[in-house]
């Protein structure tokens, strides 16, 4: 009885689901090859993304890309994983940069972009992509496995009005960490703002990019690019010194901790904090909300550290191609054509200007430059300048560490305990390395015997 009822329920469900899938597209486009694109952009960014996709669909008559919003980055990732396990993975999924190693290790689940482009016979020149962007999503041999999409990099934003009130030169932003500290102290002493300095994305900015800029390893094996047996190295003397300095700044009141991930963002446009280290993609929000004069510059560094400053590394997301049982070649070709479309100079420049993310290609940057965009909007090119400041070294190519989201949280947890005075900077980072390595070993074991 129960079985029959269950069977009935299943039948009804399947019928409904089937109808829902068929109805909206049944008319007119039956002959088009359709591919699904799962993404994590809502609001203004989501609109730009959907417009880009609509432009592609309108540009030709053979292929149709359907963008579907799946929630935040981690939610999109989990949704794609669950769909893959059910044999119904989307063709394209937007995946945040920290998921790179996880995706790359899932060899049967993804189709490397270089391979797909070759099989589809679509011309593909990796050298048009910015090296700092390309490197992050390439194998150790330099083959691109994912298509760069939205990339940003951390920069320093400062409030010129607060600088003026504190008697600082508003056109001379702090370049080194000691200068940042001095400026923040000055701002507090003059009460030019309720808070001197804050940071968003604590791990990404203060550890991942900090390591790249100072040309010190975040992890061994070229930050994991050369093997899954990499170990964290964020307890070096320079890292300890930096965390200790930030803890001191908290104690003296010149640094206000804004929380994990993007939580700190809010403190700058509101005028609360006069200096922030945050994503270059914060620009849209600053333009909209800030009621004061502001500008952005490179991330600060320690000028007594050898080799500093180097290029910073990216954050953001890339597009991954996923496999499914019996997926027709024609559908991969559709994806390949879509990738070629978004990498074209015009589309790349449009994306850059509309979203505030860096252009993924040099040609896109040139289009924006020729159109006078950087001249009319000073500071919009600081992200690109920071990413292309030097040629990426082994330490500034990016990170290739499994379960990096978990490692980011571990570092934030230990950092928070150091900020509360529960442990010293050295203890915090030793503990972060120990816990992070356990996470890396678990990841390595999952793929052992592959």
């Amino acid at each position: 009885m129960g079985k029959r009822l269950l069977a009935g329920l299943v039948a009804v469900f399947l019928l409904t689901a089937g109808t829902m899938l068929v109805t909206p597209n049944a008319a007119g486009q039956a002959q088009r090859v359709r591919v699904e694109f799962w993404h994590a952009f809502r609001g203004a960014l989501g609109e730009v993304l959907e417009k880009t996709v609509a432009d592609f669909n309108a540009s030709q008559g053979r292929y149709q890309v359907n963008p579907i919003f799946k929630g935040s980055y981690p939610e999109t990732m989990v949704a794609a994983i669950a769909a893959f396990r059910a044999g119904r993975a989307p063709h394209i999924v937007q995946m945040f940069e920290v998921g790179t190693a996880t995706m790359m290790a899932a060899k049967g689940a993804i189709k490397p972009v270089h391979e797909m482009m070759r099989e589809a016979g679509v011309s593909f020149d990796p050298s048009i992509y910015l090296p700092a962007v390309r490197g992050y999503y390439s194998t150790a041999e330099g083959r691109m496995v994912a298509m760069p999409f939205n990339s940003s990099t951390p920069v320093l934003w400062w409030n010129k009005d607060a600088f003026r009130r504190a008697g600082l030169n508003p056109d001379n932003p702090p370049k080194t960490w000691p200068e940042v500290r001095a400026a923040a102290q000055r701002i507090r002493a003059a009460n030019a703002a309720p808070c001197g300095f804050t940071t968003a994305w604590p791990t990404w900015v203060q550890f991942e990019n900090f390591s790249a800029i100072h040309d010190v390893p975040f992890a061994s094996k070229a930050n994991g690019f050369e093997g899954m047996d990499a170990e964290l190295q964020v307890n070096s003397p320079l890292h300890v010194r930096h965390l200790a300095m930030m803890a001191d700044m908290i104690k003296e009141g010149s640094f206000k901790y804004g929380g994990r991930d993007a939580a700190g963002d809010a403190l700058f446009p509101s005028g609360e904090c006069a200096i922030i280290t945050a994503s270059s993609a914060l620009r849209a929000r600053v333009v909209r909300e800030a009621k004061f004069a502001w500008a952005a510059t490179y991330l600060p560094y320690y000028d007594d550290a050898k080799g500093a400053p180097k290029n910073s590394i990216i954050g953001g997301a890339a597009l991954w191609v996923m496999t499914a049982p019996q997926r027709p070649v024609e559908e991969y070709r559709a994806v390949a054509e879509f990738f070629r479309f978004i990498s074209a100079p015009q589309a790349s420049a449009r994306w850059h200007i509309d979203t505030g993310y860096v252009p993924i290609t040099f040609t896109g940057m040139q289009v924006a430059e020729t159109a006078g965009y950087y001249r009319q909007n000073p500071g919009t090119d600081i992200g690109i300048k920071s990413l292309t400041r030097t040629i990426p070294t082994r330490n500034s190519k990016g990170l290739r560490l499994g379960n990096l989201p978990e490692i980011r949280v571990i570092i934030e947890e230990e950092m928070e305990k150091a900020f509360q005075g529960q442990q010293t900077a050295k203890q915090a980072l030793d503990s972060a390395v120990r816990r992070g390595n356990a996470v890396l070993r678990r990841f390595q074991q999952q793929y052992a015997g592959q």
């Binding site: 129960g2 396990r85 060899k107 206000k256 609360e272 989201p405 978990e406 947890e413």
Partner: protein, 293 residues
């Protein structure tokens, strides 16, 4: 004509049970079975490589320093939420019960918070207590109290306890009120005539007669504080700072969904499953005996 309370049809009882059984199997036994299976294997997130590891996941979970810490956090959190939510509910119910006029209005107003979704409730608390943008948070700092739940584990704990308890006060209130109203007036009047003052009447008559309600609410509140407070914690602190507000349920989520450690997360689910079975058995065996119906 004889009335018989049994069915002739042998199939009918099964047919009547079928929907409930189907739901139980599909939404309880099947996922629970999956969790048990997942807890003894090690697998990459995509399910490409699977290896049987028996109890290694359990060893990792129980051997790590953070599980015990999370258990302590959970006990502290749940205990405080239950205490605050039930005391406040009872206090409000007693007050409204005494109120002759406008009791209906108070009841309605006090019920409203129950209609607020946990995530929305958490946002409201955030706007009150955020150290930089919250109304009360700023003022606390202005008068010299160092309030910062983003960095201070104790402050964060206080905040999630308040937010979680607040959502639950209404529910407790309405049940306590119903319980109070079902206490016969004659008993109370008799006690008054015997010379018992109001405090004595409460502890000697009202409170014992309320015990079925209290017991019911205790069970429901334990379940709530253990398993339904995810939304509040997720919206307010995400388990931080450090791991100060990471309860067992939140840890299952973090390890499974964020960290993609499916085996470890499944092992924790199985442990929780066993704990719930044990807790329920204990509750009904020992506490229920002391309850007067």
């Amino acid at each position: 004509m004889t009335r018989r309370a049994i069915f002739d049809n042998k199939l009918l009882p099964y047919l009547l049970l079928a929907p409930q059984l189907a739901i139980t199997i599909a939404f309880f036994f099947w996922p629970a079975g999956q969790a048990i299976y997942q807890s003894v294997i090690r697998q990459d997130p995509f399910g490409l490589l699977t290896r049987l590891v028996w109890l290694e996941n359990f060893r990792n979970v129980l051997g790590g320093p953070f599980y015990l810490q999370s258990l302590r956090t959970t006990l502290l959190f749940s205990g405080a939420v239950i205490l605050v939510a039930m005391t406040a509910g009872l206090l409000l119910a007693v007050t409204v019960d005494r109120q002759a006029r406008g009791a209906g209005v108070y009841t309605m107003l006090l019920m409203w918070p129950y209609a607020v979704a946990p995530a929305v409730a958490a946002s409201l608390w955030l706007f009150i207590f955020h150290p930089a943008i919250g109304i009360l948070g700023r003022n606390l700092r202005a008068v010299g109290i160092h309030w910062d739940y983003l960095l201070d584990g104790r402050d964060a704990m206080i905040l999630v306890i308040l937010a979680a308890a607040w959502s639950r006060v209404s529910y407790n209130f309405i049940f306590f009120l119903a319980g109070l109203q079902s206490i016969p007036r004659s008993v109370l009047e008799a006690a008054s005539i015997d010379g018992a003052d109001s405090r004595r009447r409460f502890w000697k008559i009202v409170f014992p007669l309320l015990s079925p309600t209290t017991f019911f609410l205790l069970v429901v509140n334990v379940t709530y504080s253990f398993f339904d407070t995810f939304g509040v914690i997720h919206s307010l602190t995400k388990g931080g700072p450090g791991k100060a507000t990471e309860t067992l349920i939140y840890k299952v989520y973090v390890d499974g969904v964020v960290n993609l450690d499916l085996g470890g997360s499944a092992a924790q689910s199985v442990i929780l499953l066993l704990a719930v079975i044990a807790l329920t058995a204990l509750q009904f065996r020992y506490i229920e005996r002391r309850v007067h119906y």
